[in-house]
């Protein structure tokens, strides 16, 4: 339920005057789509805490900060690139929301696979333009949401990824979004479209990093279509600057017998929100894993929505959170089982660890079940470290801080261990170890 909320004049102004955001040789149909989105934004604005779906997350700081659009001039330091890029992947690199060909590499890309920056889509062939048109705005079910309209009206770049039928991509495709020094107080609007055609198999990573302590806004929307019998793994690693804002969404349609695995790792940003939505057709299989680790004053909001629309689909959702200091974590997970979706098998688990008395977790699982022959289970816990285990570790010679760190690390590492692609696992592990420097953990011991 969206609540009408006056749009912010700064951002409404951006929509009215923005020309730099437009894609080169943009087609009229896209301009019309942007105008419709801008008109909706001008009515509803950004979501407010009065909106039930946003009650735990107040984005007024984004409105006050008045981020402006970034230019395509940014250079990025090698150290930041090294930190961002994963080994053994194809890379498409975006700096401050703009494609950077010199850091990207698609050499040796499997035949039948299209990986194209959206800024080049209208200068590419008709086939790519048709693909783009058919995918854009085809999965999102919630047009009134302010950040989506904002993104549709303004996106300047992003990735189009299409895997042809019966094609297996030999390496993961990484879409790396990096914010440079010049990106301070700027906003990046990217749109990604990922299309796994029938019986294809691919892995796509989205990573978000930025210059340390730089303040910027990332507003990103990813639309995903997984056709019958296709198998898509999609991971997003949000490791933005600790002063940045990040609003992201992954909207997915799974067709019959499709397999989709989504992993969502949140470490960065002072305020972040990730929407992970999946619409399931018959006998599709959807896994949603998440990990969010918050310190200081970080606010991390994870919103998942799984719609079982047809029979025999399976969904497994497992999110873990650790909140320290004054950090606040939010998990709102909703499973909807439609009347026709008999034999649905759905589980949702959310486990949280609070390390400080001033940290907070708001967790809200919601099940809406309209079918009668289904298996649905959900579990939610918010707890502290196990005193008995701390005593046990200390009695063996680990000091108190180390014992606490070991247990916290172990709690979170359960999600990291699930990552089969090693370069990503180590990247996520690096983020985790940064949070627990006292643990003295070494990768070789894991």
């Amino acid at each position: 339920m969206s609540v009408t909320h006056l749009p912010n004049t700064h951002y409404a102004g951006l929509l009215a005057t923005a020309t730099t955001s437009k894609i080169e040789a943009e087609a009229d149909w896209l301009t019309s789509l942007r105008e419709r989105a801008a008109a909706e934004f001008n009515v509803a604005g950004f979501p407010s805490p009065r909106d039930e779906e946003w009650r735990y997350t107040n984005i007024s700081a984004i409105e006050k900060s008045q981020f402006s659009l970034s230019e395509k001039t940014a250079e990025v330091e090698q150290a930041l690139l090294d930190e961002a890029l994963l080994d053994d992947c194809y890379h498409l690199v975006f700096v401050d929301g703009h494609y950077q060909p010199k850091h990207s590499s698609l050499t040796g890309l499997t035949g039948g696979v299209t990986v194209l920056p959206l800024s080049e889509v209208f200068t590419a062939g008709k086939e790519q333009q048709d693909l783009f048109k058919s995918l854009l705005d085809s999965v999102i079910e919630e047009h009134a949401q302010g950040f989506i309209n904002f993104n549709t009206a303004l996106f300047s770049d992003g990735a189009l990824v299409c895997i042809a039928e019966n094609t297996v991509v030999d390496k993961p495709i990484q879409l790396a979004f990096i914010s440079s020094q010049d990106g301070a107080l700027k906003l990046s609007n990217c749109r990604n479209l990922i299309y796994a055609m029938a019986s294809s198999k691919a892995t796509v990573f989205e990573t978000y990093t930025g210059v340390a302590d730089s303040c910027y806004l990332t507003d990103v929307v990813t639309e995903v279509v997984v056709e019958p019998n296709a198998n898509l793994t999609h991971s997003r690693l949000q490791a933005e600057s600790l002063k940045a804002y990040h609003i992201g969404g992954v909207y997915t349609r799974l067709e019959n017998n499709a397999i989709f695995q989504q992993n969502n790792y949140t470490f960065g940003a002072v305020l972040s929100r990730a929407e992970i939505h999946a619409n399931l057709s018959e006998a599709s299989d959807c896994t949603l894993d998440g990990l969010y680790i918050g310190c200081d004053h970080q606010h991390m909001d994870n919103h998942t929505r799984v719609h079982h629309n047809q029979p025999h689909a399976v969904s497994n959702e497992f999110y873990k959170g650790v909140m320290d200091d004054k950090a606040r974590g939010v998990f709102q997970g909703r499973i909807v089982v439609a009347e026709d979706a008999q034999k649905t098998d759905a589980t949702m688990n959310n486990r949280n660890l609070l390390l400080s008395e001033r940290a907070e977790i708001d967790t809200k699982p919601q099940l809406e079940i309209y079918a009668d022959d289904v298996k649905c289970a959900h579990g939610v816990t918010v707890g502290q470290l196990d005193d008995t285990a701390i005593f046990y570790l200390r009695s063996r010679g680990a000091d108190e801080q180390m014992a606490e760190n070991m247990l916290t690390f172990a709690f979170a590492n359960e999600m990291v261990e699930r990552i089969s692609f090693k370069p990503l696992r180590f990247k996520v592990l690096d983020q985790l170890l940064k949070r627990f420097p006292q643990a003295g953990m070494k990768k070789e011991w894991l």
Partner: protein, 250 residues
């Protein structure tokens, strides 16, 4: 090595230990026997430093230092080791990692350098072989999903890796079948050393068939009501504890 004097302990307003006196020297093996609820496990936890116990009177010195002033980890660094009656499961922390973290914690405290990883693993593996433990246990989470016997063996493995000077074994024989009991007892006997003392806390005499104690103490109603040599355990086996409890009551 260890001197307990007039130790009184209260838990949740209830007196559990009511004046324990016990002196243990290096190289000795002491068995502490007694019926359920006599305070045996409380004594073990007090030595290891568990919270939740109120010490109302008395003192414990260890190598001349005030043990009660030391934190849990300081006791471990100083050479105290408790083999738990119910070893704790630590999901997500591998056995090998915990062993290394524990041993390096102790070595660091002694001013010794960290162990070389390969040497360390080789040494742990040879100790596992002695305890008839599969190497795969190294990489499993500490005690998670272990059977009762596997957990007890794992305690002895930790003990043999950490090489403490005071080994307190709380009901180590419980949950062990006869084969496992032999393996665990052999493991303990291998560690017997003139510089090391053992406190075996046990309800039954059967562990003492394999590990011969120098002294046996009977704990009943929070006090040591009788002390003697290894033959006292056999006497208890024949007659049970009631004659001692009755004696105290009268």
């Amino acid at each position: 090595m260890l001197k307990i004097e007039n130790l009184h302990v209260r838990v949740e307003g209830k007196d559990i230990l009511k004046g324990i006196n016990l002196e243990i020297n290096a190289g000795e093996v002491h068995a502490i026997m007694g019926p359920n609820g006599s305070g045996k496990s409380t004594l073990s936890y007090i030595l290891a430093g568990r919270e939740g116990y109120e010490i109302t009177q008395g003192s414990i010195s260890f190598h001349g230092k005030d043990l009660l002033e030391m934190s849990v980890e300081e006791r471990a660094w100083a050479g105290v080791f408790l083999a738990f009656q119910y070893p704790v499961e630590v999901p997500g922390v591998s056995n090998i990692y915990m062993l290394k973290a524990a041993l390096n914690g102790i070595r660091k405290h002694k001013g010794e350098p960290e162990l070389d990883a390969m040497d360390f693993i080789a040494s742990v593996k040879s100790k596992m072989k002695d305890l008839d433990m599969d190497e795969k246990f190294l990489y499993r989470a500490v005690n998670e999903g272990f059977s009762g016997g596997e957990k007890k063996r794992n305690e002895i493995l930790q003990m043999s890796v950490l090489e403490p000077t005071l080994c307190v074994l709380d009901e180590t024989d419980s949950g062990l079948d006869i084969d496992a009991l032999k393996i665990v007892s052999d493991g303990i006997n291998r560690l017997r050393d003139p510089a090391r003392a053992f406190v075996l806390v046990t309800h039954y005499q059967r562990l003492l068939d394999y590990i011969k104690p120098d002294f046996v103490h009977v704990l009943a109603n929070g006090k040591i009501v009788k002390s003697g040599g290894a033959e006292l355990a056999l006497e208890l086996e024949d007659q049970g504890y009631s004659w001692l409890e009755d004696k105290k009551a009268s």
